[in-house]
């Protein structure tokens, strides 16, 4: 029997021909925008026609085909879907932006940004704890002498049209609920909302300064100022800046570009992964634990600091001055011991320190220069690098310095003996009754200067 021929092929040809003819005769009558918007109806009409055809064949007792839509036709349909979607995004690209994709925060997004302002106010009497959950967007919380919570800011929605943005905004609700002494502010989304990479909410809040803050998010920065209670920040990706916090600060981030804490009276705990950490004027214990690839700086820390990141460990009793710990070096000025630093590859410079010092690195030069005569043990060792110790002239000590391959020098005259032994050398000597000083390198120079 002869193969049945469908109407679809000829009809599609007629449609395409008709569109071109219309455009040729009446230029401008067929716009890309129109095709981009209405192409799915070609699929619908195609399917309907085929359905009618099959039912007709069936009713007229003609044999029904094995498959309603053949393999080749499916390939054509996939192409139509791809070209149609491509056209859609091309037509709706950002005006004046020649590319289809715009890259922002590492995510490919389409469309334009529409802003919706937020303005809420609520009494916060009896509230001692404020919970903020802003999954995407920046949050700024400022404490003030007030009994009210004011939430301002705006929601930015990236959408292809104002209509889409309005619809999306309806499904987003900033919810403020009170649970006992706890006030919860959530920018949660209801199901059916567009994927949240297109939505971000920037919040600016004024809260009673006596409350404590618990903030969570997934992507966005947190700025928290003037809070008398504790502050707890948890996020997958955030920069965190804390200033003038009277309570403890706890920051747990899976990724961050910066964590800065200035004027914190309580303890500071920083956990997770990130780049830079800046601490200034901290009254409590500081504990930094995780992987940090940038610079760690500390200034005026009143209590012990413990930093653990990968193979680097730093413990300092107090930091009246400042320190800077970067990928390749550590510099510290005016630190109080016991100071303990263990690292793989760092050049270490410590000036004006007091108390016990223990530095151990695999690779790197160690420079130690206390401004007072040493009062406690100094132990510096490196596998590969020079060690230079500069002591005040009136220092008393019991020194042992060794290098397995390299030279030693001493500016302390007769009281320190130099012994050269094959490729290596050693220093040994004591003046008065001083603390032990041990300097060791496998490859490098050991020098003792005044």
């Amino acid at each position: 029997m002869k193969r049945r021929h469908s109407l679809i092929g000829p009809l599609i040809l007629i449609l395409i021909g008709g569109l071109f003819l219309a455009e040729n005769l009446y230029p401008g009558s067929v716009s890309m925008r129109m095709i981009a918007a209405y192409w799915p109806f070609v699929l619908i009409v195609w399917g309907l026609l085929r359905l009618v055809e099959i039912l007709y064949w069936r009713l007229t007792s003609k044999p029904v085909p094995l498959r309603g839509v053949s393999g080749g036709e499916w390939v054509l349909i996939v192409f139509i879907c791809l070209i149609g979607s491509g056209l859609f995004f091309y037509v709706h690209r950002e005006p004046g932006f020649p590319r289809i994709f715009t890259v922002r925060r590492g995510v490919e997004l389409f469309g334009q940004t529409y802003d919706f302002p937020i303005q809420e106010q609520q009494s916060a009497a009896k509230v001692t704890r404020i919970v903020v959950d802003n999954s995407r967007g920046n949050t700024r919380i400022v404490g003030a002498d007030t009994q009210e919570i004011k939430v301002g800011g705006h929601t930015s929605i990236r959408a292809l049209s104002q209509y889409d943005a309005d619809e999306a905004n309806k499904r987003l609700a900033l919810r403020i609920t009170t649970e006992g002494d706890q006030l919860v502010i959530r920018t949660a989304q209801q199901p059916g909302a567009p994927s949240d990479s297109t939505v971000s909410t920037d919040l600016e809040m004024t809260v009673p300064r006596g409350s404590s803050i618990q903030a969570t998010g997934r992507n966005g920065d947190f700025d928290i100022l003037n809070i008398d209670g504790g502050v707890d920040v948890t996020s997958a990706n955030a920069g965190v800046r804390l200033q003038d916090i009277a309570g403890n600060a706890h920051v747990d981030l899976r990724r961050s570009d910066i964590v800065r804490a200035v004027n914190v009276k309580g303890n500071v705990d920083v956990l997770g992964r990130g780049q830079d950490v800046e601490l200034e004027n901290v009254g409590g214990d500081v504990n930094i634990n995780g992987y940090y690839s940038g610079e760690i700086t500390g200034r005026n820390l009143a209590k012990p600091l413990i930093f653990q990141s990968g193979t680097t460990e730093l413990r300092v009793q107090r930091v009246p001055g400042q320190f800077n710990l970067a990928l390749g070096d550590f510099t510290g000025r005016d630190l109080l011991g016991p100071i303990r630093l263990t690292a793989q590859s760092k050049d270490v410079q410590l000036r004006d320190f007091q108390g016990e010092v223990s530095v151990s690195v695999e690779r790197g030069d160690i420079t130690l220069a206390p401004d007072h005569p040493p009062s406690a043990k100094i132990d510096a060792s490196t596998r590969s690098g020079n060690i230079e110790l500069t002591l005040p002239a009136d220092s008393s000590f019991d020194l042992t310095g060794t290098t397995r391959r390299g030279d030693v020098t001493s500016a302390f005259g007769d009281s320190v003996r130099i012994v050269r032994d094959g490729p290596g050398a050693s220093l040994k000597g004591s003046t008065g009754r001083g603390p032990a000083i041990i300097l060791r390198t496998d490859r490098g120079e050991v020098s003792l200067t005044k």
């Binding site: 209405y38 799915p40 699929l43 619908i44 399917g47 044999p63 309603g68 499916w74 149609g84 859609f88």
Partner: protein, 72 residues
């Protein structure tokens, strides 16, 4: 009659899926329910059509009643 019903259901599967795809894309154009949200409907629809096929006498792909019940 069973086998011809089966072949009918099987034949309309393609067109119905095609219409559904078109409708979902059209919804994506004119409402905020984009295709990236609604695509699972296609899986559900395909499952329902398969069930209908079975109910109309087909035994799946390896059935004793092969789909060549009606030969051209």
């Amino acid at each position: 009659m069973n086998s011809s019903e089966y072949s009918l259901v099987r034949a309309v599967r393609g067109p119905i899926m095609l219409i559904a795809i078109g409708v979902l894309f059209a919804l994506g154009q004119f409402t905020s329910y984009g295709f990236h949200l609604t695509w699972p409907v296609l899986l559900i629809l395909l499952g329902v059509l398969k069930l209908l096929e079975r109910a109309s006498g087909g035994q799946g792909q390896s059935g004793v009643n092969p789909p060549t019940g009606v030969t051209p």
